[in-house]
Symmetry: C2
DNA sequence: CTATAATTTCGACAGATTTCGAATCAAGGA
DNA sequence: TCCTTGATTCGAAATCTGTCGAAATTATAG
C-alpha cells in the first residue's frame, strides 16, 4: 500500500479499482444496499450498549422472523456485524472496521471542504 | 446548528434511519453495489481531466456496449455521474456531492460543527 | 424429560437484475 | 445524400434476491 497518488479525491476516484478489489467491495456494498438491512445496521449501531437483540429488531418491521434472520445473515457474512448468543437471545453488534472501510472508499482524504 | 446527538460514530450507527431515508439511500448504494459499476465509477473519476469517454470504458471490459451503457445509466439515474455529448463521443464525470454523501454515511465525524 | 420460546434453516415462488443481440439515434465524412 | 462509427434503447433469457410458511435447532422453565 502506501501510494498517495494525487490527494485529489475519494479513493474510488483516485485510481481505477482492480477487478478483484471491485468484486470484494461489491459484496460489502450489496449487503448494505437494501432498505431493510440499512435500517437493521442503523438500529443495531444506535441501540443502547452498541448491541441489539434479534427480538427487538424483528418487532420494528412488518416482516417475518425468517426474513429478518436472512438479512442479518447477509450482513454478518459481509463482515459488517457479528452475533453472539447469550441465553435465549442472540445479540448483534456492528464491526466498526468494516463500516469505516466503506466510509474511506467514498471520502476525500484531505477533507476540509468549506466551513 | 443543532442535533449533535452523541458524536460516537458514523451517522448510520448514531440513530435509527427512517424508512424513507433508508429507501432513498438504498437506491444510491444499489447503484454502487456492483463490480462493473464500481470499476466504471473509479475509472471515470481517475481518468485524466476528471472525465472519461464511453469508448474508453467499453474497451476495458469483456462486456458489450449495450451492457456498459446500461450500467452508466444506472449510475446516472442514481445521481452519481453526469454525461455530456461532445461531437461523436459522450463523456462522463463524477458528481462529487453524491459520492461524499455516501462517504459521510459511514464515516465517524471526527470534526465538530462550528466549534 | 417434556413443554415453550427465540432463531435459524429449508423449500418455494414472484419480482428484480444482468446480460445479450438487434434495432435505432446522432454526428461526421465520402 | 449515403455510409460509417459511437452510443443508446428495446426485447428477451438466465440468474439472483426478498419474502414467506413449515420444520429444525438451541436454550430455559417446570
Amino acid at each position: 500500500m502506501t501510494a498517495v497518488t494525487s490527494q485529489c479525491c475519494a479513493p474510488i476516484a483516485r485510481e481505477p479499482l482492480s477487478e478483484s478489489d471491485a468484486a470484494e467491495l461489491a459484496v460489502m456494498l450489496k449487503a448494505v444496499a437494501d432498505p431493510v438491512r440499512l435500517r437493521l445496521l442503523s438500529m443495531i449501531g444506535s441501540h443502547a450498549g452498541g448491541e441489539a437483540c434479534v427480538c427487538d429488531l424483528t418487532d420494528a418491521f412488518d416482516l417475518t422472523a425468517p426474513t429478518i434472520s436472512h438479512h442479518l445473515k447477509v450482513l454478518r457474512t459481509a463482515g459488517l456485524i457479528d452475533g453472539e448468543r447469550r441465553g435465549t437471545w442472540v445479540y448483534y453488534r456492528i464491526l466498526p472496521e468494516a463500516v469505516n472501510k466503506l466510509g474511506t472508499l467514498f471520502t476525500p482524504l484531505s477533507e476540509s471542504v468549506s466551513a
